[in-house]
């Protein structure tokens, strides 16, 4: 069977912070249309992995690739292919959702009209009456929807999510997971760092468990049940695996 080409790929990635090894020999690949959930406790290296793809930090050795190109060698071209959604979608408080979306899209080189922006926000699930309100009045879920709208406008090849459902109520988390699934089904490669086992099982195609910077286990999400996933996760967290 042919292996589909990876949109996101880490090869023998090592990232050290001074004396501390944050990522140790990480190998992972996320092909087109795949949602890859990275599980692990605090300090496992999930966020560092995502940050390395975003060039927020550099590999000590090894490399990451986006559609075969190193973002550290060609940051501008590669960033155009990535959408990023952090745990807390950072928006400008003094501006409305529409203004934020228009601003971020312009920075990404995409010009959209106000009506288009409103449509995109509606498509991302943001209520119409919130479009013109200042973001300082938005809940976390509403901000995530603006973030999702930014990501979808970019027509990115890959999406990097860092704890996207943390702090969302179950309904909002479920809604968000479905939107991620739709994005993947439309061909996007998604790498998602999360603590949320339920969400990971619900949306992911592959799951990797990280511990102390190492990818300690990787499996097909469709082959495990919720209970099994929880047991695997806890076993690694408790050092029993």
């Amino acid at each position: 069977m042919n292996t589909p080409p990876a949109v996101l790929e880490a090869k023998n990635l090592i990232v050290n912070y001074k004396q501390h090894c944050a990522i140790d020999s990480l190998n992972l690949r996320v092909p087109k249309g795949c949602v890859y959930a990275l599980l692990g406790g605090n300090g496992a290296g999930k966020t560092t992995t995502i940050s390395t793809f975003l060039t927020f930090n550099s590999p000590t050795s090894g490399a990451v690739f986006i559609e075969g190109e190193s973002p550290h060698e060609n940051p501008d071209l590669v960033r155009a292919k990535i959408a990023y959604l952090p745990e807390n979608v950072a928006l400008y408080e003094m501006m409305s959702g529409v203004e934020n979306l228009t601003f971020f899209c312009t920075l990404a080189g995409i010009t959209i009209a106000r009506e288009q922006a409103q449509q995109l926000l509606s498509d991302s699930g943001l209520q119409d009456d919130a479009h013109g309100k200042r973001v300082s009045m938005y809940s976390k879920g509403m901000r995530q929807k603006v973030g999702l709208a930014i990501a979808s406008t970019k027509h990115a090849k890959a999406m990097l999510l860092d704890e996207p459902t943390s702090g969302l109520d179950p309904s909002a988390a479920n809604d968000f997971a479905q939107r991620i699934r739709t994005a993947a089904d439309n061909g996007m490669a998604v790498l998602m760092a999360t603590h949320d086992l339920f969400n990971a099982k619900q949306v992911a195609d592959r799951i990797g468990i990280m511990k102390s910077g190492r990818l300690v286990e990787e499996f097909d999400a469709h082959t495990v049940q919720h209970d099994e996933l929880e047991q695997k996760y806890l076993a690694h967290a408790r050092g029993l695996a």
Binding site: L54, R79, I82, A90, M94, M95, F103, L107
Partner: protein, 470 residues
């Protein structure tokens, strides 16, 4: 990309309540000070004009008397203030308001306001220019100290970075956006200032050019502060550290640098006290300089020269008044000695000013302060220009009275008389302040310093962009 950043920065700053609150407060303070100083300047100009007319009329209506005695009555002259002086009173509080012109002696200005002021005011006066060079930069610091660090703290910098935003475009976009937002405070201030000055004074083309240049230089000054604030905000990891450093920079530039410079200048090149100054002039007149001989020796030589010139053996036989002739000779020497000491004193003032300006490396405030004073015509150079014109006028009217005295007497008798028609024939002191070119020539070093600060600030901004990490 940069247009979007400028627009976003402008909108975010304008919507931030701090600009509205602080900006409006500052605008009100500025308008208050400007109203007060405009009123004060207008009153001062009227007083000077009215006292000048009265003093000249008193001169004109002197009774029949000896022309030299009339000259001793003296004439008061006043330095006219430019309308721009409403924005910056400069050295006015420390320099006299009038010059009394009399024979034999060149005087220093009289009636400086600081001498009559209450003690507390000598430790710092708040003027319109203080709002412009000290308080407005504080508003800039208050609004820009977290311009980048806040983005880092809130996570928007990571978002921008993930979108591939060019760091240079980000920091320069912020610079232009913030300047555009601050112009919302500056523009009403400028409009109010123009209306007030236009209503209270007749503005010449030179005045308007001075105002325009002053505005441009203040824009450069504010750009320096905004650029340094953004650079600091990008360089330091937290808003708190950035604020602390920017306040130290503001404090150092506005308050510490001028004082340090002044103390250093006074220590390195101290001014003589008044007693020493006048004693040195008297000594040089009495003893002579460069081998000219003493007062008595010079007088004897002059007498011999005059007697030989008119081919007489006694002063009493001279066809012209010798007393006046001798006085004019002595005055000529006195003028030379006075000029020597006055120039030395004023050169020392200038040297002190240059030494003080060495402290400009601590901050750009000293340079803009000096530029503001120069463009307002309230600096040392404009003062010196006025004093030189007044001294020239003193020579004119003293020589005129001596001509009358000498021509209307002979020998050693003192019977020469002058009357009202003579006194009225003395021309008025018609002084015009030098033009903008003079001011520009005077301020060239300060302009260079300010532009160097601008270059440094923009370089720091560019360097900070290179260090901009989420």
């Amino acid at each position: 990309m940069i247009t979007a950043i400028i627009r976003k920065e402008f909108i975010a700053t304008v919507r931030d309540g701090r600009l509205l609150t602080l900006g409006c407060s500052l605008l009100l303070i500025f308008i208050g000070f400007l109203l007060a100083s405009t009123f004060q300047l207008q009153q001062l100009r009227q007083e000077k004009e009215s006292v000048g007319i009265t003093a000249k009329e008193q001169w004109n209506t002197q009774s029949v008397k000896n022309p030299h005695a009339a000259a001793h009555y003296g004439i008061y002259v006043f330095k006219p203030d430019l309308p721009v002086a409403a924005l910056d009173s400069g050295l006015r509080p420390f320099i006299g308001q009038s010059l009394w012109l009399e024979p034999h002696k060149r005087n220093l200005e009289r009636f400086n306001p600081s001498a009559d002021d209450i003690l507390a005011n000598r430790f710092g006066q708040t003027t319109t220019s203080f709002v412009l060079y000290a308080l407005l930069p504080l508003l800039i610091v208050a609004l820009t100290f977290n311009s980048v660090s806040q983005e880092r703290e809130r996570g928007t910098l990571r978002m921008l970075h993930s979108l591939g935003v060019n760091a240079n475009a980000l920091v320069f976009g912020k610079l232009l956006g913030l300047l555009a937002a601050f112009s919302l405070v500056l523009s009403p201030a400028l409009i109010v200032a123009l209306i007030l000055l236009q209503q209270n004074f007749t503005l010449s083309v030179d005045d308007l050019l001075r105002l325009t240049l002053l505005l441009l230089l203040f824009l450069v000054y504010y750009t320096i502060f905004v650029a340094i604030a953004i650079a600091a905000s990008a360089y330091f990891k937290t808003s708190r550290v950035t604020l602390f450093c920017l306040l130290a920079f503001w404090l150092g530039g506005v308050f510490i640098a001028p004082r340090l410079g002044a103390v250093a200048a006074q220590s390195l090149t101290p001014n003589p006290d008044a007693k020493q100054f006048w004693a040195a002039i008297k000594k040089d007149i009495d003893q002579g300089i460069n081998g000219d001989g003493s007062h008595e020796q010079r007088e004897k030589a002059f007498e011999a020269q005059v007697l030989a010139q008119y081919n007489v053996s006694r002063k009493e036989d001279l066809p012209v008044g010798f007393v006046s002739l001798n006085r004019q000779f002595n005055d000529g020497y006195s003028v030379r000695i006075h000029a020597l000491h006055f120039d030395r004193l004023r050169d020392n003032f200038t040297l002190q000013q240059h030494l003080t300006h060495l402290a400009s490396w601590l901050g750009p405030s000293l340079a803009i302060r000096s530029l503001s004073m120069t463009l307002a015509g309230m600096d040392l150079a404009h003062q010196r220009h006025f004093e030189d014109a007044a001294e020239e006028y003193r020579h004119y009217f003293i020589n005129l009275t001596e001509d009358w005295d000498r021509g209307r007497s002979h020998g050693t008798e003192r019977g020469a008389k002058g009357e009202e028609a003579d006194w009225r024939s003395v021309k008025d002191f018609d002084y015009s302040a030098p033009d903008l070119l003079f001011a520009l020539h005077t301020a060239r070093l300060d302009i260079v310093v300010l532009l160097l600060w601008l270059a440094l600030a923009l370089t720091l901004l560019t360097l900070s962009a290179k260090r901009l990490t989420p």
